[in-house]
Symmetry: C2
Subunit: 348 residues, 2 copies
């Protein structure tokens, strides 16, 4: 049974373990620095479907099927799926996952969904409510752009603060796992649920600034509640703050004398090559942190590159309707702490 | 620590208890058979705001504040809030709850959100991850109608299968509660997470038929996994199947020789007087089951009218975009089993 630390930090007690992960992406993602990390890519971003929304469904299905395959599991072996996405009514998840006959608890955390779903999956496994649980999310540049900003055909200019919604999906399976054949496994050690922070941003092309305060408050509180410091982690990944949001995060944390810039990476800055690819302030979207986690962070940990990692995915709770009514864009962030465990250290 | 029964039925072991509940509604709801059950109503449905979306935010805020007040709690006393709603990007919840500095895990279960959020709140309290947790949701006829169907000004005719989205919000607080001064309390005993079922309905004015199969499958599996039968419950409430969906539910359950019509009520049929109010097949919306639970079911239990109750809220995962692309409307349902405990039976 996980233990509550402080207000909303959860310390796992039963070693919820990453069983497998899978990343799916489009052409831009394949051409980026992490292109080789994807299990499946489609240059057209259509994945054989006739609409962007259906393509996004297909990405989630491919990611989940591949994650099940890697863990040698069938859909019957999963007790529960946690998923959400950016599409209205979260159809990227619900329409994708209706073909799997697995109990489903839908989430909405905007681009923080990967850490929210992994938090939930870990808590359910740790508390004995699931033997195996899945955490899945996705985003698609084309379906997001037309829903949140302008029709693509309009060809609107994007300011330098704008981010590029990743065409990507990631799935992670969690269980009371056995050691990998390499004698290693990755456990979820802590998770922390964030508070909504609204810094008053009204520009849908400046998501980084809308999300940075939520990430800063979350990290600050997490370090206190878990009794840890940045130096206890090899790497701290934020979800998709991009360059603008990352710079702002450092400034906000500095006020509390917390320094993370020597060990911080942002998934939105890892996914694309900003010199070669026209993504402006970096990548974003639920699929961004999901694919970077599934395709890059977890495999890097298994290779021994990092032992202790924080993933703090960040979400802008952006609503075109509310922004049209003159309202601002609140942000949220949730985090998980992942640890590489060698066979000899295992508590199993 | 809650115990897993079967695939996704959770038996609580630490007596998560309803601390308080509050219901807020509009004019139609005040004029209905449960009008006196609301803590707060506004005939105009505007709640002092200048847009329907902001009015929906206000309803959630009023419901949460009132629930906190009834339990003599401050927002600082809550570890976590679970909430979601029907508005795009779930802004009914996120924009409402940003003014409360409480950790927030956003959900999307369409009209099943009340039982999904109460499931989560109960699991977190039972597993020791929260001392006190909140479950909140809302819907608003005007914001829903223009988002899902037609602009209100268009004055479109509604077929007899159509349901009326409730202008209502409900908040329920869960904790490791002490006995009420009456010597009674209501505990969450079981919860069960449902599977997405898609019966192939394409008509956004026939939500009951889209949701009934999900409710039937959930109830059938729950009775098996929990080892209980309909006769173990005084009342089984479904969320918002309306008349069309309720009739279909009986037919579907009869195939498995399960009979619930002698102890079944549908929140969508309780909220309005279909003889006097022009709601066609009944009420719907996240706020429907939320307000009926908070304002009617829980108070009726505390008065001793029912001892064992199932609430199976039902959600149509309807997306106008997907329906425009020729796709169908999947449904989902989650349930909680509530029990009235007298002082003498208490395990505390």
């Amino acid at each position: 049974m996980a233990k509550l630390l402080g207000r909303s930090t959860y310390r796992m007690e039963n070693h919820p373990t990453i069983l497998s992960s899978s990343a799916v992406g489009g052409g831009m993602e394949r051409d980026g620095p992490l292109g080789s990390c994807f299990d499946y890519t489609d240059h057209s971003g259509m994945f054989g479907e006739d609409s962007w929304e259906k393509a996004e469904n297909k990405m989630q299905q491919l990611a989940l099927k591949q994650a099940l395959h890697k863990a040698s599991l069938q859909q019957e072996d999963l007790n529960i799926l946690f998923a959400g996405d950016l599409l209205n009514q979260c159809t990227g998840s619900s329409y994708a996952l209706r073909q799997f006959m697995v109990p489903f608890l839908g989430l909405y955390g905007a681009c923080s969904t990967m850490s929210e779903s992994l938090l939930m999956a870990s808590v359910f496994v740790d508390s004995g409510l699931a033997d195996r649980a899945g955490a899945i999310t996705s985003s698609h540049f084309c379906s997001a752009e037309r829903q949140y900003r302008f029709p693509l055909e309009y060809g609107s200019q994007r300011p330098q603060t704008a981010q590029w919604t990743a065409t990507a999906a990631g799935a992670v399976l969690v269980g009371r796992g056995e050691l990998h054949e390499s004698g290693r496994r990755i456990e979820v050690v802590h998770a922390c649920a964030g508070v909504i922070e609204d810094p008053g941003i009204t520009d849908a092309n400046n998501m980084g600034a809308a999300m940075a305060p939520a990430a800063a408050c979350l990290l600050k509180r997490y370090f206190i509640e878990s009794g840890t410091q940045p130096k206890n982690y090899d790497r701290i990944f934020t979800g998709d703050l991009g360059q603008v949001g990352s710079d702002l995060l450092y400034q906000l944390l500095e006020r509390s004398h917390i320094k993370i810039d020597d060990r911080h990476d942002d998934c939105g800055l890892l996914l694309y090559d900003r010199q070669q690819q026209d993504v402006h302030a970096g990548g974003s979207g639920c699929g961004c942190s999901a694919a970077v986690l599934a395709g890059h962070i977890l495999p890097s940990m298994m290779m021994g590159k990092y032992r202790n990692v924080i993933l703090a995915a960040t979400g802008a709770l952006l609503s075109p309707t509310m922004v049209q009514q003159g309202d601002t864009i609140p942000g949220i962030s949730h985090l998980v702490h992942l640890r590489l465990v060698d066979g000899k250290e295992g508590a199993h």
